[in-house]
Assembly symmetry: C2
Homo-oligomer: 219 residues x 2
Amino acid sequence: MRISELAERSGVPLPTVKYYLREGLLIPGVATSATSAIYDEGHVRRLALVRALAAQGLPLEKIKTVVDLVDNPRDDLFVELGHAIAALPPYVDDSAGPDFPRARRLLERLGQLYDPRFAAVAQLEHALAALEAAGLRMGERRIDTYGRHVRAIAEVDLELLPTRSREATVEAAVLGTALYEPVLTAMRRLAHQHLAARRFGSDEPPTTSGDPATHDHRE
Amino acid sequence: MRISELAERSGVPLPTVKYYLREGLLIPGVATSATSAIYDEGHVRRLALVRALAAQGLPLEKIKTVVDLVDNPRDDLFVELGHAIAALPPYVDDSAGPDFPRARRLLERLGQLYDPRFAAVAQLEHALAALEAAGLRMGERRIDTYGRHVRAIAEVDLELLPTRSREATVEAAVLGTALYEPVLTAMRRLAHQHLAARRFGSDEPPTTSGDPATHDHRE
């Protein structure tokens, strides 16, 4: 297909497609003349990946890291996945390393790998320190519950990862990490509301109320 | 205590404390003269709340919403909680309403409340639409697994909510929603790495490798 069709198929504005080409996020099409080239389904997929990462707030340089990893497989898929996931936000200051005591305690309690070189270890440490600063704590009951259920979720995530090619696995792992997180956090908030409606709500369930003024839960 | 001591106890710079007072995020202390006042533990707690919300990226106006709700209880704690949680990011465009078909389908499958006025319904719809745009989908297997385990997490969250006062409940619900989310997402990434190390890794576990070049999972 021509570049205009690629733009249309992908729902990405033509100038943006050209920009991605210039920046090396999209490999060039096969040249058919000095001014035109043809593109294929690989380009459509790559545009979807780039757009999804950009929508998650990744700066161009981080998107490039992911794209390079997808295109240039390393020896070890595990290491490759680690690098790709590390390119995702949140970008936390990891200068507190090489040791992350709160994260270490939590992971050791759960019997999980503790490797301070994992980017998510610094993220976890940062999140636990923020809790403490606000006067909250991560007690053992909560650690155990979160640990058990998060592990079950992660197991299904891995099971559902495509394995038809290394490229597909890395792509799906990066996108899945970034894109299922907001699903999970929204689902948690809704589960809270579902449970709270029964525990704290008035007798009348809010969905059957005819008075929007008292049940407008949004800003 | 005097304002300088309040600042020191809270770890908040004095000019910031004065700014919060001017903006009405902190109620004034008891005046002891025309230029000085004394502050108490309530002020220390309030500063911790304001700082924690600011650190989560809440703009001043949203922090004010939360603080007002904590200080001015409504008739219905459930409605109050809904308003307070709705002040938290992410702030998604909910103009797609009044119906959110992807979120509705998911919640109906899980047998949970679907009320399009809940802010998290728009968040969930937005997250599911982003998945689709990237070529991923939320299949039934994943919906059921996420739903079951997120519900179990939410149940413990509610159980551990303090009930000594309405103010404490609202405060903890808002902080807990905001501050346990990054803990959960970091834990999910670490569970992935723990499981992936066994599935995709080389025989040698990465923590025992002496070569940092091949096992540097951070950027």
